[in-house]
Symmetry: C3
């Protein structure tokens, strides 16, 4: 395998670097959870233009007593299949990109898992790009040219 | 039920939209955890002026080896009942509102559960309002008038 | 024990106040997890200059199906021992401090646990200092002089 020069990533580093925390009710199958992770990743690739393979996700199941949401907030009817997706990512996405990302995730989960679009709750937390280390104790963006 | 026009929420959307992560030691009763969620929600309603029903909370129990805190930091004496509350919310609260919120949560947990005020740790993470989708793949604030 | 005046902390409060979330694959020993927490805390003390005893950490184990990462992103070869460290802290650290912190954590985990440096993923989320309450329902920085 040809080793890619870190400098080649300089532009891509502006793009994203995300960590996803996914919370849902306990009892879903492994395939179900795996598909959730894939749909979110695919939406990040397609809409947020993340570099291929930039996938870091934590999926946590909770008993009903530890997973609380209002079933009608904003007149959206939620079911027990409701999931929370919280993404930490680099600042710089436009409002329009965020809108398209929300839609892509909700559409993808519906098509793949018949998960109702009403049940998809998404929260973004934006940070600056020096706030990541992807391994080796280095801030990968800093070692690349500006 | 009369369906409310999303535009009616335009002003409210400036107010909050929170996601709460609550971490505590394992072994508490369902009622105890439920009460924690309610107290936090009630403080958000009363002090942070969140819209009614805007409640999204994840409560996670941990074994002692996975839940670590200093028992005396800042000369505050913490017990094994210590809880961490981390709230992701829209930017724009004043310092005074935050102070009143911290007090309302600590007072409420003491009154309701006899949880010592010393054991309440709170962390806020502020984001912008386009960073939320409450369902249907939409950024609800964006579809409303400015 | 002599009680320290809260005002003495006024300068220190500018320094950090962190909450660490540590996620890893399930099945590690208590000692292993404990050592991870210690290494991160020691790096915060040494590099980020946090006040002694400012330690609040949640360590969560996950089954493989709930803990997903790309094994080669940025040409870094990750193993099943990969851990995610997400730190919420006060804004104000320099890029150079962040770089030294990443290195100290990766070096420390390697020396203490033989954890490969490639397996250490770190994400920082920065907040303002009025966003913390360490107990008693107070925003500790606010009660101190400016």
């Amino acid at each position: 395998m040809e080793k890619r020069n870190p400098r080649d990533y300089a532009q891509e580093w502006n793009l994203l670097m995300p960590l996803a925390r996914i919370d849902l009710i306990q009892g879903k199958s492994s395939d179900y959870k795996k598909a959730i992770g894939e749909v979110i990743y695919e939406a990040m690739l397609a809409i947020l233009k993340v570099p291929t393979n930039d996938r870091f996700q934590v999926i946590t199941e909770h008993p009903a007593e530890g997973f609380l949401f209002d079933p009608t907030y904003l007149d959206i009817q939620r079911s027990s299949d409701c999931i929370f997706i919280q993404l930490t990512l680099n600042e710089g996405r436009t409002v329009e990109q965020k809108q398209r990302f929300y839609k892509a995730v909700a559409d993808g989960l519906y098509q793949r898992l018949s998960l109702r679009r009403e049940d998809v709750f998404i929260s973004l937390v934006e940070v600056t790009k020096e706030n990541w280390s992807f391994g080796n104790g280095e801030a990968q963006y800093v070692t690349a040219p500006q």
